[in-house]
Amino acid sequence: MRIACIALLFLCSAALGGQTEIDLADGKATFRSNCAFCHGLTGGGGRGPALSAGRFLHGSAADDIKNVIKSGVPGTTMPAFEFEKDELDRLVAYVRTLSASSGKAASAGPVAGDAAKGRQVYERSGCAGCHRVGSEGSVFGPELTRIGAGRSAEYIRESILNPSADVPEEFAGVTVITRDGKRITGVRVNEDTFSVQLRDASQNFRMFQKDEVQKVTRETKSLMPVYSSLSKEDLQNLLAYLDGLRGDLNAGTGVKKEKAIR
């Protein structure tokens, strides 16, 4: 009887907002298999936004988060997932603990720095020569219209200081050396066994048959220059500017569907 009482006490203490530790462990496992690849093992962000910062662009209520998981986010790489109801409940319960445990929920706010000055840094540094914000800039590099919503500040900082740390496949660089020795470097739009199509820095398509050129090589590094020479202040202001870019990117664009894996 005494053992039973202790066991009961343990079960009660383990309950957290209606979720048991077992439920949260299940949610964590589902998160690691399905979400961690983009959002990081502890939700700190990566190719996807941080989930531990206490800021959810589409709402922080359980139903808001569920909607995002079930429907995906149009115009982004966030796909729609199919989960069983119980599984989705456990996953969302776990996702909500990420910001609680990081202690950031209360203090969450914009990234420190002067966004207006950051915009000047952006313009001065020639970022628009490759990137697009809204209707301005180039389509050569990744669009930044909603970069603040899609990437953690930490990820953006690393992308500026060490762009080669993570190069998305759709922005992989490729260099073609023609038979007369010309080198053409650009973002690979498409490549197959016999041909390659790329976009050069002037935003033009360049298209080649491989048997008509000397060599086609994949660039192992990002085509983006390293901006480590920015002053600490300029960098922080630039981060504040980029973090504030949360525009509507291609609303209505189709959402990729992904089967959830248990």
């Binding site: 496992a29 066994t193 248990r262």
Partner: protein
């Protein structure tokens, strides 16, 4: 009344004879080089034809001759049969067709009737034929027999109850004597796999071989507790057959749950194995397990090709397989004895194979909650796409996938009709996939030549006496290569990733090459003189 009936019989006799594909004809399928009578072209699956009208000298002139559009969405994985000028093929989603093999004009169409509430989509890999009957499986795990002359349904037998889509079937059946032999899919959904034989005349089941033995049966001790009940072991690709040894060879799929092995400790027989069966009874003659206790989805569904070669000074009957686990295996097909196993692609899971062919595992190859980087990836270094063997060059030609994955694991919850994987894999982002067309000496396992594809392929090969290897890639190119040198001699962008294997046939002294792509059957020939 009697004389009239007799006259009627006489009148239809020549028509019936035209489709009369006897078992004897199937045994000697390679004597009918103009036809393609079984899924693999013949029982041994060499996929080589002694046709040389299209050759290394003129293949540059090869051109599209006709197109047949099925209009069916989904992966088009069929390999057609051709019998005396008629092409029989299955499409996706329960469709099937008979075509004039010279013009691509339709002779009949069949559509499987799905009961209400069942999904009506799914891939299919083709027909088997016996007499004037065609046999196919359906996405809802039925075997159906059709009249080859009309496409009319003759019989239909359910292999296993549908269970919300848990059991499915995709393969082309194989006919041996009077039996239609088929396999099942669904190891990713918690099934217990089997190979079935049905009476070609009636559709009645004659025998069943369970690929996962029950507790108490031989091999049952290789499964922890009740894990055998959902042990997987799909048999989703067609087997091969040696008529002289009267032995059927079948590659068995992976155990389930795919990526989580804790609840099914043990070798998990007969998953990831080659089983040799008596086709009359379904009794096991021998087995060889390539990947004991697999946790990477490396099934053994790849074609077991039967070759008679001189092995170290002695003529032997061999079975060879380029396995999904990245090793090329040679076994004695009379005894199942392991003779050789060599890696043909990058792998970091086995340091070597021991004298009996069992892999010595490397550390960190098991899937983990944080993810383990392992080569090959989940789709394997080889897969369902058919290889070929050319008796002139004595080389084995096959498609290689070079791709690694990060493998995650997590205890799965079983829900009928839902995936039962035990977690997930992710492709390595810093290292793109690629592929090879490889020409390998099956006696040594050494590569003679290879040709690099930009993406990892999903298409098989065809060998012809014209000195050619036909192959396809994941970017949609149908290609012809010099079998001796690997030089690419011809290519055509079909506009859709190619996910099956080319075949060839001859009608009216004209040689054709057929390769389905997208939802179209594309048939090529040299310009008419």
């Amino acid at each position: 009344m009697r004389p009239v009936a007799a006259v009627f019989c006489l009148a239809i006799a020549p028509l019936a004879a035209a489709q009369n594909v006897t078992y004897e004809r199937l045994v000697h399928a390679l004597d009918e080089q103009q036809n393609w009578l079984t899924h693999w072209g013949d029982y041994s699956a060499v996929r080589h034809r002694n046709l040389k009208q299209i050759s290394t000298a003129n293949v540059k002139d090869l051109r599209l001759d006709w197109i047949f559009q099925t209009g069916q969405a989904g992966s088009f994985e069929t390999v057609p049969l051709v019998v005396d000028g008629v092409m029989y093929l299955t499409g996706g989603n329960g469709y099937a067709y008979a075509l004039d093999a010279r013009s691509g004009r339709q002779l009949w169409m069949y559509k499987h009737a799905f009961p209400p509430g069942r999904k009506g989509n799914g891939v299919n890999r083709g027909f088997a034929i016996l007499g004037d009957r065609l046999f196919m499986v359906t996405p809802d795990a039925n075997v159906v027999a059709l009249d080859a002359r009309t496409g009319r349904l003759l019989w239909q037998t359910e292999m296993a109850s549908f269970n919300n889509g848990q059991y499915t079937a995709t393969l082309a059946p194989i006919v041996i004597k009077d039996k239609v032999i088929v396999g099942i899919s669904g190891a990713e959904l918690g099934i217990r796999g089997f190979i079935d034989a049905y009476d070609a005349a009636t559709g009645k089941r004659v025998w069943r071989f369970w690929t996962v033995p029950a507790k108490g049966e031989p091999g049952g001790e290789t499964w922890l507790a009740d894990s055998w009940k959902r042990g997987g072991g799909s048999t989703w690709m067609t087997g091969t057959y040696d008529p002289q040894l009267n032995t059927l060879y079948w590659g068995v799929g992976n155990p389930g749950p795919d990526l989580y092995g804790e609840t099914r400790k043990g070798d998990n027989l007969y998953t990831c194995s080659l089983v040799a069966l008596d086709p009359d009874t379904g009794k096991l003659k021998w087995h060889f397990q390539f990947t004991p206790h697999d946790t990477h989805d490396w099934d053994a569904a790849e074609t077991p090709v039967l070759l008679d070669l001189n092995w170290k000074g002695r003529d032997r009957k061999l079975v060879v397989q380029a396995n999904r686990n990245a090793f090329f295996y040679v076994l004695d097909r009379e005894s199942g004895e392991f003779l050789m196993g060599k890696p043909f692609a990058r792998q970091n899971w086995a340091s070597e194979l021991d004298a009996k062919g069992r892999p010595i595992l490397m550390k960190h190859q098991e899937p983990s909650p944080e993810g383990s980087q392992v080569c090959p990836g989940l789709a394997g270094a080889a897969n369902f796409m058919a290889p070929s063997y050319n008796p002139d060059t004595k080389l084995f030609y096959f498609a290689v996938r070079e791709q690694c994955d990060v493998y995650y694991t997590n205890a799965p919850v079983y829900i009928e009709g839902r995936p039962y994987w035990g977690s997930v894999t992710r492709a390595l982002t810093e290292e793109p996939e690629w592929g090879l067309l490889k020409a390998l000496d099956p006696l040594s396992g050494e590569t003679k030549w290879d040709f690099r594809y930009f993406h990892a392929p999903w298409a098989g090969t065809l060998s012809t006496a014209g000195g050619l290897i036909f192959a396809g890639d994941a970017d949609g190119y149908l290609m012809a290569f010099d079998a001796k040198t690997g030089k690419n001699l011809w290519k055509l962008n079909t506009g859709n990733p190619i996910v099956n294997s080319p075949m060839t046939y001859m009608v009216n002294r004209r040689q054709y090459i057929t390769m389905p792509s997208g939802s179209a059957v594309l048939t090529f020939a040299l310009p008419e003189q």
